[in-house]
């Protein structure tokens, strides 16, 4: 749910890395034990699994030559940024992936750890860590095949920094999946006024409209940071049926799939290098990996 917390006042020349906003922490702490109530405050997130899990699963299956329908994501290392109580980590783990879930709210991690502990298969496949994204970059350079950041980027203050960090911990040609909310009049009316204040679909105060991210801006930031955006799809929540569906329009919620480019071609090379996963590292990569 939440990944980076920053001072809301942007300091262009600040070298401070993420320091967590205690107000946001408290907000989510109160609800830390509500994650796993399928009919409770997080009901909409639970039912979002019905479309975001197949989206991730089918995209990855279509990209791999190894089709094992019994265990579709086996062998894939996934980072779930802002994992909350583990709502998305668990289905991905059940499908065979090795999942690392990070979230800065300790209570969330505690809830997630406790919930997975009863299932020995999940307990082994999923590791949770109370941390922000930047804090794990150094030890996880080019470690993950996939990053999922679902309902996270709308809580992030420095989106470009977030994307850069994603790029660093992703293997070349790795996939990034984002779901988030567009910044439109409609999303203000429906996403904040109706969803939070009137119908209580989302706990009040969860979102700030200012932080919503239009897909065009997200695409621009991704493309200029070494990602190639493969698909953007609109999502819609029906509060009467409690279910999500894919729609043409992206004016409310949307999902995005991008792929981190393979290593860039050498600047003065006379021949082009093939884009395979095993390539030289970029200069800023450091010694990890």
């Amino acid at each position: 749910q939440l990944s980076l917390f920053r001072f809301t006042v942007k300091r262009p020349f600040s070298t401070s890395h993420s320091s967590v906003d205690s107000k946001e922490i408290k907000k989510f702490q109160l609800l830390a034990h509500k994650w796993w109530d399928e009919e409770g405050e997080y009901a909409a997130l639970h039912s979002m699994n019905d479309i975001r899990v197949p989206f991730i699963r089918d995209t990855l299956l279509s990209m791999s030559s190894n089709y094992n329908l019994g265990n579709p994501l086996s062998g894939i290392k996934i980072l779930d940024v802002g994992c909350g109580g583990g709502l998305l980590s668990e289905p991905l783990g059940r499908l065979g992936a090795s999942v690392t879930g990070i979230d800065p709210v300790e209570d969330n991690i505690r809830t997630a750890d406790r919930h997975k502990s009863f299932d020995p298969v999940l307990a082994e496949r999923i590791q949770y860590k109370s941390s922000s994204l930047e804090e794990i970059v150094e030890e996880s350079m080019e470690t993950f095949d996939v990053i999922v950041a679902s309902e996270v980027v709308e809580h992030v203050a420095d989106l470009e920094m977030f994307i850069k960090c994603c790029s660093q911990v992703l293997k070349p040609e790795g996939s990034l999946f984002i779901t988030t909310i567009n910044k439109t009049q409609l999303s203000y009316v429906l996403g904040i006024v109706v969803a939070e204040k009137i119908m209580g679909i989302v706990p009040e105060g969860t979102h700030e409209w200012e932080k919503f991210v239009p897909p065009e801006e997200l695409e621009r930031l991704l493309e200029s940071n070494g990602f190639s955006v493969r698909s953007v799809k609109g999502m819609l929540y029906n509060p009467l049926s409690g279910s999500w569906s894919w729609v043409q329009s992206r004016s409310l919620n949307y999902a995005l799939h991008a792929v981190r480019a393979g290593a860039p071609p050498r600047p003065h090379a006379t021949d082009t290098l093939p884009e395979t996963g095993v390539q030289q590292r970029s200069a800023t990569a450091g010694t990890a990996g």
Binding site: E38, G70, E90, R94, L95, R114, D119
Partner: protein, 465 residues
Amino acid sequence: SSAAMAALRGRALLAPLGARLRAGPRAPFRSAASNPPLYDVVVSGGGMVGSAMAAVLGHDIHFHDKKIALLEAGPRKEYDHMPDSYSNRVSSISPGSATLLSSCGAWDHVCSLRLKPFRRMQVWDACSEAMIVFEKDDLDDMGYIVENDVIMSALTKQLDAVADRVEVFYRSKAVGYTWPLPSHGCDTSPWVQVELADGRRLQTKLLIGADGHNSMVRKEAEIKNIEHQYDQSAVVATLHLSEATDNNVAWQRFLPTGPIALLPLSDTASSLVWSTSHDHASELLAMDEESFVDSINSAFWSNINHSDFIDTAGAMFRSAISLLKPSGTAVRQLPPSVAEVDAGSRAMFPLGLGHATEYVRPRVALIGDAAHRVHPLAGQGVNLGFGDIACLAHHLSAAAFNGSDLGSLKHLLKFETERQRHNVSLLAATDVLKRLYSTTLAPLVLLRTWGLQATNALPPVKVRI
């Protein structure tokens, strides 16, 4: 303490799905060391429906890495070879059920053992000449008469084939179930605890109750069951016909005491299912074989219940129909006559109607007779169970492919809605038919006579059936 339990119950009732979250005895907190083995699915009840459920899941590709357990109270039966004589417990298998059995590889075994396809079903009234014939236009089989033992043998083979995924526990009666508290009680096990008679314990993410019309799973889950004992028992027996014939027709005649049916087993043998009063059923079992055979033939051939009034009214109606629809009435075939009954093949069992008001709870689903019990007059009993399996397996397969928690109410409710919609109308119709045909009162006889004749003449209605 009971106060704490009451408080827990009260809190649970306030939850949105209050009734469904009512907890039973609380699952005790266990240290990791004493954790009973955890299964993804436990099927309680190893009859035709329970075994088929386990076999279908075991053969599902999305269940490749899952652990399934099947609990059967009885011993493992070896079906190495079929005895020459037919068993007296047979089922009418619809084409849809055959498809389901095919999907887990069991139908091939059934075909290689023995079965009898039938092309036609003739149903008629004892109080009039009214008759309805069911037949598929394209000369396909309407259904198959298969001994229950044959189906069990086929399913056992297919369960053996997936023994790495499906563990069958024989001689293992479940004696207690413990339900998990609603999910936000984080400290206790979220799984269903199952206690066996020998003290062994299992845990499961989903418990499927396939334990028959006296289902313990249903009772322990405190699911309300609407039940009604018919004042009837069914008498079954294996019969030999007077002469060999194509025998590809299923016969059923509605007597005032109840329907009598002859289901083909081979060119020379048929299975009897005679639903009648308890007293008459006991008489039939007690009488000598010759008298028994005479009773059967008389039931099929006698016109003793006809009255002139009804016959005339029926004939008038038939002429009316033939004016409107010249080809309206089908050819009446004559049922075969019976020569002898297999010694020792006579048996009886009581009949009743049952329907569970809910088929599912969190982490629990009911299938087969545990969910619904129907009168055999429609030959539907086990087919409803197989239909439940097809539906539940479809939803569980999709849930597994989505990485969902298998015990989640979300997809279980979809199963419940689909099947209740289907089953309730069939149960109601069967019950109505049973009551309608249990009388000789002229107005009702007339009604059903005309109804049957009209239905016979109207293709769209017949096809629906």
